[in-house]
Symmetry: C2
Subunit: 288 residues, 2 copies
């Protein structure tokens, strides 16, 4: 595989940024890697693990002459990081991110991106509950999906290189517009997180002592309620309209089931459960 980028600046050397650096270096896709961040301990760990060659706390220093700026910080901070780095990048450089929400980010980044730079948003749908460079792993992305949401001013060459980067670390890459991405993710990821957080809150509202009797169904339903609250607050705010719509769709489905239960309508309950069961089993069977 030919080298795609000579010098990469990774802003936010956490689980995702760190894992991409490890995987892309192992595949020979990128050359020098410079880390940009605030946490000294985390950046030091990243350097010790060979994730970055060097690091800096200064955006202009870290981004100097890079031909790829990969912004792997919380969604609400992406545009600010791009603004702080842009003038130091090599002419024609590619700017990308790994955020879970794309439309707001695209709008904010493109509004202030200097001419000659291409913004190609990306969302690698992978992750674990741990965070930080210490947990980065070269195989984190293998077999999972990545969605690209290129900006309107992104060059075809820039899009192709970002696609090759994520494909090169083992992902299946799709491309769609940012609004559709945000609609899809609101349903398959942001809604599940909203439900998990709310299910725990509902149990506390009902009677916290009930938790003593909670078993595997509660455990799995609420697993992601242990996730980073800062990151999820950020995602919910950045994708508010789509999350609102996904919640509406969900509440309607739940109320249909509730009304069938309250009416004692066994046929209608069975119809609802069988539809869900069939789809869930099919979904599961299609996955390794």
């Amino acid at each position: 595989m030919p080298r795609l980028f000579k010098r990469v600046t990774i802003a936010g050397v956490g689980l995702i940024g760190g894992s991409l650096a490890l995987a892309a270096r192992a595949a020979g896709l990128i050359g020098e890697v410079v880390g940009l961040g605030r946490g000294e301990d985390n950046l030091c760990t990243a350097q010790q693990r060979g994730i970055v060659d060097r690091y800096s706390h200064d955006p202009l220093d870290a981004a100097r002459d890079a031909d790829l700026l990969l912004v792997a910080v919380p969604v609400g901070a992406i545009a600010d990081v791009v603004r702080a780095c842009a003038s130091a990048l090599r002419p024609g450089a590619v700017v990308s991110d790994v955020g879970s929400v794309k439309e707001v980010v695209l709008r904010d980044v493109e509004a202030q991106l200097p001419a000659g730079l291409s913004f190609v948003g990306a969302h690698p749908i992978a992750g674990i509950e741990e965070s930080g460079a210490a947990h980065a792993a070269a195989d984190l992305f293998r077999g999972s999906r990545c969605i690209l949401t290129p900006g309107r001013r992104a060059g075809a060459d820039a899009v192709a290189k970002v696609r090759a980067l994520w494909e090169g670390v083992g992902m299946r890459v799709d491309q769609m517009d940012a609004a559709r991405h945000d609609d899809v993710l609101a349903c398959v990821s942001h809604l599940p997180h909203a439900l998990a957080f709310s299910a725990v809150n509902a149990l506390l509202d009902a009677d916290a002592t009930f938790a003593d009797f909670a078993g595997p169904s509660f455990r799995d339903l609420t697993r992601v309620a242990a996730s980073s609250t800062e990151m999820w607050c950020d995602i919910f705010l950045a994708n508010a309209a789509h999350v609102d719509r996904a919640i509406t769709t969900f509440v309607a489905a739940l109320e249909q089931l509730r009304h069938a239960i309250v009416r004692g309508d066994a046929a209608q309950i069975k119809e609802r459960l069988e539809r869900a069961q069939a789809a869930r089993r099919q979904w599961s069977a299609a996955r390794p």
Copy 2:
């Protein structure tokens, strides 16, 4: 451990009934075991695996002279099985079940239980997605909780023996009245199932093709939507009032989060997420 029951009839030799027979026999808690059921293949498997000594399709034959009738059939069928077996049981015998809903079952069973028999409801909170005697395992219950909901006419000796049975197969046993059991289980188990089924239905309502992009958060949230629809229809109907109330509590919690998101109220979102995260992490830390 002294033998608790000389002859046990297990009505419904599935995962739970079969596992109890294996575990209780291994611990020397019970003597002869007779299976009662409809499915010839399943009963044959149970006999081959040493779960039952013999089996019958005839209630009076299967229950003859038993000092424990353990009814491990769907909630809606328990009272009918007790009615069909009661006259053949040994005088003073104990009748128990393993249903996930207790109040309706207790009312229906006690309404027609012959004098001299004790009904001691039990709910071993354990299980896997598989069902049938083929998947029964002696260690299924170890370390999990069991709730006893004895009838008002149950003798103290009968309650003590049923408690000793479940403790003897490794469960931590609590006792409470049936209405409280149903309230607790609505919150920690029946609601999670209603949410899982409804989350899959909501995804189908939004756009079935979105499922291609669903990852681990969707997978875990909806795992139990692959469960038996017959059993869950039965549970929702038998515990309708408590499930209705649990859904109301949940929807209120979800709407609080939704309104904070729509208002863009970061402080309120964080407060909701942090409350849930702390409780979920604490719950998780308290478990092996």
